[in-house]
Symmetry: C2
Subunit: 336 residues, 2 copies
DNA sequence: ATGAAAGCGCTAACAG
DNA sequence: CTGTTAGCGCTTTCAT
């Protein structure tokens, strides 16, 4: 592996010239012949700067860490995808961590964070791994942005238009003539969960309709929780004819749960969900959703880190593109 | 950010002692009092070694890069998940790259590879980004392992028991009394695609049945290709009563394609697919699959890199756990 | 039982 | 126009 020194020697110049030439230093004045020669040698020796030395010197690594709950969840995968693309566009690389594997013992990624070896950290909120990473990051003043769940730290918070999206979903059901609408919520206590429920509640209220607690169930964001949750919901509120599901993966679980109960969708109950992903079009009935800018959220997080905005108390909502309904088959006009 | 030097000064010892103490050097003999004092200071100053300096010195980074086509594909997501977990267990961190974002121009991840700044590289085969990464890796002698598709480089190849799995799938259909069985294959020309088709062919042959080219369609690994592919297949071979789909995502597309054609599954045609993921249980009809060790493949790749086996011409097949049928509703006994 | 010092490869300030 | 030099923070050998 060729070093700067070797290149310099071979070209008969000093390392400084080569370094500045290669990094495109404007103030460097070098003869065309010398420049040519150096470049040729760089090529011939297949020289590439040593990254460790470079980041040691520059005190930055162009490495960004992203910690998510679980890549296999299609909703989270889309966030990862957006973040990765943005990182690439910003000429940074993405370190990926999944919550589960970070919980235990020593971990290189957590160490990197703790050592301030990364330029920024993006955390999908809530969870022990997250907290641990966050604690380390805060101590080392690593630029951190939280997705969807705030903390008391100096980190930025990026959220989705949760309340709007839930209102849009509710409104869709309302427009179809439904009046008794339940809400299958995500995990209790989290900012985005509350916002979505608030969207449902306020839209119901705006139409002078009830949104009692009996028509609300806190579930989660996976298939099993959706399946179980919807059964509790139907049990508590058998009168409902429409459901706003706060997470599309859970909604697919809910479709199955309703199937278990022999309730026809959308014949007896309409279901609309927040978030969208390709497979939502391939379940039966195809799931009507409200698409939210997930990839954009991942990208925005990375861009925020790469920018130089002060992250403390910085709170952005990603509203472009705006949430929009993807009309499919799981919602229908209310009967009678 | 505290440095070694600061810790050493505060403890009134040299940096060497602190360094060796912290890295658990067995040959170091320190007085218990000194040791205590140093440790306390490390704690108080919240010292963590500078990673860049460390990797500069040690010439290794405990960073492993993984390049996949697309994290949003649930099959690939599972590979990523397995790799991430293994990396964490090996105290390494995972750099994730998606093919699409690596195609264009300069890219940090590709640079890191080209600079030999990572300890290893795992590549999901076939694609321009892959080739570029590979070329760089080869030049810098980065330990590389290919997933599913071989190259002529000095990299290891990890594959799945593709042929077996396809044979198991075919056999399942055969056992249900199907005799005219088609194959919806993945992208043409790739090792694993060929192996799966070979599994179908050989199992048919073993039972003295035909597997003509008219009953084979090369499609791909996503929803749209599966949907389109199955229509071509039915068009070419309307007589088939069973389909071995070489990829479960494509198979879900195929289910939709068969729906478009108003062909009942499994009433008229049974479908069994290779690979499994949670949502396969939630489509209609729930997809019968042959599960393959995807996460294990990702993990094996990372473990291979972390180990010290010679990777040249190293070819392993991940056969634990062995492929096994997940029986659901998309396959049924042949009529008559 | 502990310290001094040489580098790892690079960049940037300064000096010609 | 180009070279010298002083570190960045760490590990490790060799002295003491």
């Amino acid at each position: 592996m060729a070093t700067l020194k070797e290149v310099a020697k071979a070209a008969g110049v000093s390392t400084a010239v080569v370094s500045r030439l290669l990094s495109g230093d404007k103030t460097l004045r070098v003869g065309a012949a010398t420049r040519e020669r150096i470049l040729r040698i760089v090529e011939a020796l297949d020289y590439t700067p040593n990254i460790a030395a470079q980041s040691l010197r520059l005190a930055r690594s162009r490495l960004i860490a992203l910690i998510v709950h679980n890549v296999s969840n299609p909703v989270y995968a889309e966030i990862v995808s957006g973040a990765e693309a943005a990182a690439a566009a910003r000429d940074s690389a993405l370190l990926l961590g999944e919550a589960a594997s970070l919980e235990t013992g020593s971990n290189r990624l957590i160490d990197l964070i703790g050592a301030g070896a990364i330029d920024g950290l993006v955390l999908q909120g809530a969870g022990a791994a997250t907290d641990r990473a966050l604690a380390k990051a805060v101590r080392k003043r690593v630029r951190t942005v939280m997705l969807q769940v705030e903390t008391d730290a100096d980190s930025a918070l990026i959220s989705l238009p949760d309340q709007d999206a839930a209102a849009i979903a509710t409104d869709h059901l309302l427009a179809l003539g439904h009046e008794r609408i339940g809400c299958l919520a995500t995990a209790p206590g989290l900012r985005f969960s509350l916002a979505r429920v608030a969207g449902w509640r306020s839209e119901m209220a705006r139409h002078g309709l009830e949104a009692p607690d009996s028509r609300l169930v806190w579930a989660g964001s996976d298939l099993a929780l959706g399946r179980g949750g919807v059964k509790r919901l139907i049990d508590q509120a058998p009168e409902i004819t429409g459901i706003v599901a706060c997470n599309a993966v859970a909604a697919i679980g809910a479709l199955a749960g309703l199937g278990d109960l022999e309730i026809d969708v959308p014949g007896e109950v309409s279901v609309i969900a927040l978030h969208d992903f390709p497979l939502a079009d391939y379940v039966t009935p195809a799931l009507t959703t409200v698409r939210m800018p997930l990839a954009e959220m991942g990208a925005a997080a990375v861009n925020l880190i790469c920018g130089d905005a002060d992250l403390a108390k910085h709170h952005v909502t990603i509203d472009r593109p705006a949430p929009r309904i993807i009309l499919r088959r799981s919602t229908a006009r209310a009967r009678g």
